[in-house]
């Protein structure tokens, strides 16, 4: 039953993937002006222009182009980079690992920081610690990561000299980019854990648990927390998208060789097939993660109907 639900849920993600691909396709075709002009400039030779138009299928009707585009997506032919003629998927495959590691570390840091903070704030609701935690959480949501990143570099790399400024040489170089990327999520999840815990602590089963003499530790961690984490899991899944999109900025600041940097480089080189590929791969990853979290959520919480 669970398996059939998972399959059904994965299938239901297909129309969304199709719609996302369609939007990206028509976005590129809605650019004002001739894409060939944008890529090679207005003064290029007619022969070169025709060759490029042919390679990008621009000399065919839009509907045929659209068909070929979807066919290519499904069969793993995402086109070639205009810049170096290498397949788009090859470029993405080279970079995806770096982005994936960064996103996972940021997520790990965010969850590891936020859940304890949220629990303490909820249990000590109204106390100084609660107010301080929530103030910093709101601050964390409001600080742009493209400011936090440079400030972290100034403090930890320039002043203290303990962490590398940029690049991807060792595990240590992961620390600052992960914090930069995960800070906003950590702030958001602490707020969410707190409000979710406050809701649960008020419920009857918690009163029962206390009445039958369970220790406070057991009441909070074994009973309330397990129920309070459900909405947190859902939001973590939804926020993976923001996290993946945020890698564009974090990768720029720390010169991190992931899909985000590839996207920015391709934009500045007007390498549209590659731009399209990067956007698609990030969106696909997002849809997939959401689908998987949704499944996990329902498997973890038997009360939710499959």
């Amino acid at each position: 039953m669970i398996l059939s639900y998972i399959i059904k849920r994965l299938l239901s993600a297909l129309p969304v993937l199709l719609a996302v691909s369609t939007i990206v396709f028509f976005l590129i075709h809605a650019i004002p002006g001739d894409p060939v002009d944008l890529i090679v400039g207005e003064h290029a030779l007619a022969v070169d222009r025709a060759e490029l138009a042919h390679e990008l299928h621009l000399d065919e009707p839009v509907i045929t182009q659209y068909g070929k585009f979807l066919g290519g997506l499904a069969t793993g032919d995402w086109g070639k980079s205009i810049y170096d003629r290498q397949p788009v998927l090859k470029h993405i495959a080279q970079r995806f690992g770096a982005t994936f590691i960064l996103a996972v570390c940021a997520m790990f840091i965010a969850v590891a920081i936020s859940i304890p903070i949220g629990i303490v704030a909820a249990v000590k609701k109204g106390s100084f610690w609660d107010q301080a935690a929530m103030f910093f959480a709101l601050l964390g949501i409001s600080i742009p990561n493209f400011w936090l990143g440079p400030v972290l570099i100034l403090v930890f790399s320039v002043e203290l000299g303990i962490l590398p400024i940029s690049g991807r040489d060792s595990l240590v170089s992961l620390i600052l980019p992960s914090i930069t990327l995960g800070a906003a999520l950590a702030a958001m999840l602490s707020r969410l854990t707190r409000s979710s815990m406050i809701e649960e602590i008020k419920r009857d089963y918690v009163i029962t648990a206390r009445a039958k003499g369970l220790s406070e530790k057991s009441v909070i961690f074994k009973h309330a927390l397990r129920n309070a984490l459900n909405p947190v899991i859902t939001i973590v899944g939804l926020q993976v998208g923001a996290l993946l999109a945020g890698t564009v900025i974090t990768e720029k600041i720390f010169n991190w060789p992931g899909v985000g940097m590839l996207l920015l480089d391709s934009i500045s080189r007007r390498d549209y097939p590659l731009v399209q590929g990067c956007i698609l791969v990030i969106s696909f990853a997002y849809v997939l993660v959401n689908t998987v979290t949704d499944c996990m959520y329902r498997v973890a919480d038997p009360r939710v109907k499959l």
Binding site: I141, S142, I143, F146, P150, V248, L263, I267, V275, I279
Partner: protein, 267 residues
């Protein structure tokens, strides 16, 4: 609003609005004035926050920057609000196919992280203030529409709406005189958080060179230019970043305060 944070939010926003409205009188210098002899200069009496790479006054550029941030925020949130209200009420009130189509469209929009969507569109357009407004509005209306749809579903079966329908009220009147006033609260809360979000995305886009043109005194552009000189002149990036954080914090504080005021049980 009783909480301290929402009061702080109101004060921050008020100060920024005054700065935006009266920028030419408040700013000590013109934002585009070059003083090449003052490149990277630190704080001085004449230039309280120092000078940037071209010797331009950082304080004046930040003051003029409020116009870009608040202006774009206000326009985008207004457009999103109007479109979102109309679509949301129509979808929620009529139900059926219209509602199904809307739900699918909003699912697709949600499948794109907001910032990535903005980057995707901006990648294909020339940097300009108008383009940024369009880009952010394309997705901005969805959150309002979802909210308004939900509210409409909750309210439409209540007696006063049924009575209004029974007396033969025309739809626009029913929508805006009877439905809308009953959901102003959540919409205002959403608008406040919306301002924070739009300002953040605008400055992020400008930081990546995909937002407003580089000549505009925008905080995101200033940060982008500043981080190039991070190691020799950190003040170029520190101050515009504080400005962004303050305005976003202000709208988040306000949104939190308004929400608590409207739903005191969640406080």
């Amino acid at each position: 609003m009783k909480s301290l944070t929402s009061k702080i939010g109101i004060v921050i926003i008020a100060v920024l609005i005054i700065a935006a409205l009266f920028a030419p009188w408040i700013a000590p210098h013109s934002p585009g004035e070059y003083h090449l002899d003052k490149s990277f200069a630190g704080s001085s009496l004449e230039y309280p926050l120092g000078n940037d790479a071209d010797g331009r006054d950082i304080l004046s550029r930040i003051i003029y920057g409020t116009r870009v941030s608040l202006g774009i925020g206000l326009v985008v949130v207004s457009i999103s609000l109007v479109i979102g209200c109309i679509v949301g009420m129509a979808a929620g009130y009529s139900g059926g196919y219209l509602d199904k189509i809307f739900s699918f469209i909003s699912d697709v929009f949600l499948a794109f992280p907001g910032f990535l969507f903005a980057v995707a569109v901006a990648a294909f357009l020339e940097p300009s203030v108008i383009n940024v407004m369009i880009i952010l509005s394309i997705k901005g209306w969805v959150s309002f529409a979802r909210l308004v749809r939900g509210q409409t579903l909750a309210i439409k079966e209540r007696e006063f709406i049924v009575a209004g329908r029974a007396t033969g009220l025309k739809l626009p009147r029913l929508f805006f005189k009877h439905l809308f006033p009953n959901m102003v609260g959540p919409i205002v809360v959403n608008a406040s958080f919306g301002m924070a979000g739009v300002i953040m995305i605008e400055s992020s886009l400008s930081f990546l060179g995909l937002g407003v043109p580089v000549t505009t005194p925008s905080w995101g552009v200033m940060l982008d230019q500043g981080t190039k000189y991070l190691l020799i002149a950190p003040h170029l990036s520190i101050y515009p970043g504080i400005a962004i954080a303050l305005v976003v914090l202000g709208f988040n504080f306000l949104g939190d305060g308004l929400r608590d005021m409207l739903a005191p049980k969640n406080r």
